[in-house]
């Protein structure tokens, strides 16, 4: 009986992993809309497409596909790869986020209308990249084997800069140690820091 229950649980995990998804790519950002949440998607005057209240300019869309990409609600993934960074955004929070990228530098601004916690997962390696997040709702930052050095102040001089007055949970992963480095002159702190937010060292190896 225990074996059957374990097998059922394993099957359930597998079943939740894959679902039909509409992926809309705008440059380095991929917006993932589960087919069973997308509903009616509106085209307006040949200039915009609106999906789950997120409006895209047609001119910004570089690709659209329907596939079995895994989407977990309330998540944003940032994957650094040398001089570039790719961002994936779950459809249910897409309307609340403004995402900008420049090479391996990423800026995400949360709307004040956001009312659910987003988990940002940062991974990969870059010798000149950064992650800047600005918002007014609590968030979780997961560091998944991240090695990040910021050499230029594109959105911020810090490798990771969180501008949010609410609780920010930082979760380092268990696997390869996470390292973030920033030039000594570029230490940044949030304007109002949460008690739970760790102070970032100037140089961490």
């Amino acid at each position: 009986m225990k074996k059957i229950a374990t097998l059922m649980a394993a099957v359930l995990v597998t079943m939740t992993a894959a679902a039909q998804t509409l992926s809309i790519q705008t440059g380095q950002v991929t917006w993932l809309f589960p087919a069973n949440q997308a509903g009616e998607m509106t085209w307006t005057d040949g200039e915009t497409l609106t999906v789950m209240n997120k409006t895209f300019s047609v001119s910004d869309i570089t690709a659209m596909t329907v596939d079995q990409t895994q989407v977990t609600d309330g998540t944003v993934g940032v994957s650094y790869d040398g001089t570039t960074a790719n961002v994936t955004v779950a459809g249910n929070v897409a309307q609340y986020l403004t995402v900008e990228t420049s090479g391996a530098h990423v800026s995400i601004v949360q709307s004040e209308d956001l009312a659910e916690e987003i988990t940002y997962t940062l991974a990969g390696t870059s010798t000149d990249g950064g992650f800047y997040m600005e918002g007014s709702y609590k968030a979780t930052i997961e560091l998944n084997g991240l090695t990040l050095t910021n050499q230029s102040a594109t959105y911020s001089g810090a490798a990771i800069h969180i501008q949010d007055g609410k609780r920010i949970k930082v979760k380092p992963s268990q696997a390869p140690p996470t390292r973030w480095l920033m030039p000594p002159r570029a230490l940044k702190r949030a304007a109002s820091t949460s008690r739970d937010m760790p102070s970032l060292p100037r140089r961490v190896r």
Binding site: T16, A19, G39, I61
Partner: protein
């Protein structure tokens, strides 16, 4: 305890199976009411100039003609979305005549009496 857990897991599996079903079609609707469905299998959409290309140009839509799109379980190609269902029902109701005790007649009665037509009592003299 284990039996209950197994029952719960099977119920959740059933629900998730229903949710995990893919939609076989992505249906496009244009401003003139035309509806066209495309298969979602390995579907790729690309914007090129003023066109939305489906699967490397196998099909295309003019962007300014597009009104909406949605995932669907049926191939809706050719169905006119401009059909006014309520207007059809009103026309049908007006053609049906019933006696006062609820029996449907084959057409407009010629005998004197009280009848029901289009939701109203009608007196034929």
């Amino acid at each position: 305890m284990m039996k209950r857990l197994l029952l719960i897991l099977m119920t959740v599996a059933g629900v998730l199976t229903a949710q995990a079903d893919d939609y076989p079609y992505l249906t496009f609707e244009t401003s003139d009411g035309t509806v066209q469905s495309v298969s979602t299998t390995s579907l790729k959409l690309e914007i090129s100039g003023d066109k939305l290309l489906v699967n490397d140009g196998a099909q295309s839509f003019t962007l300014t003609d597009l009104k909406k799109m949605y995932f669907s379980t049926n191939d809706a190609t050719g169905i006119d979305e401009n059909v006014n269902v309520n207007a059809q029902h009103s026309t049908l109701d007006a053609q049906l005549w019933f006696t006062i005790d609820g029996r449907m007649l084959s057409g407009k009665p010629t005998k004197k009496g009280i009848y029901i037509n289009n939701g109203r009592k009608v007196i034929i003299k």
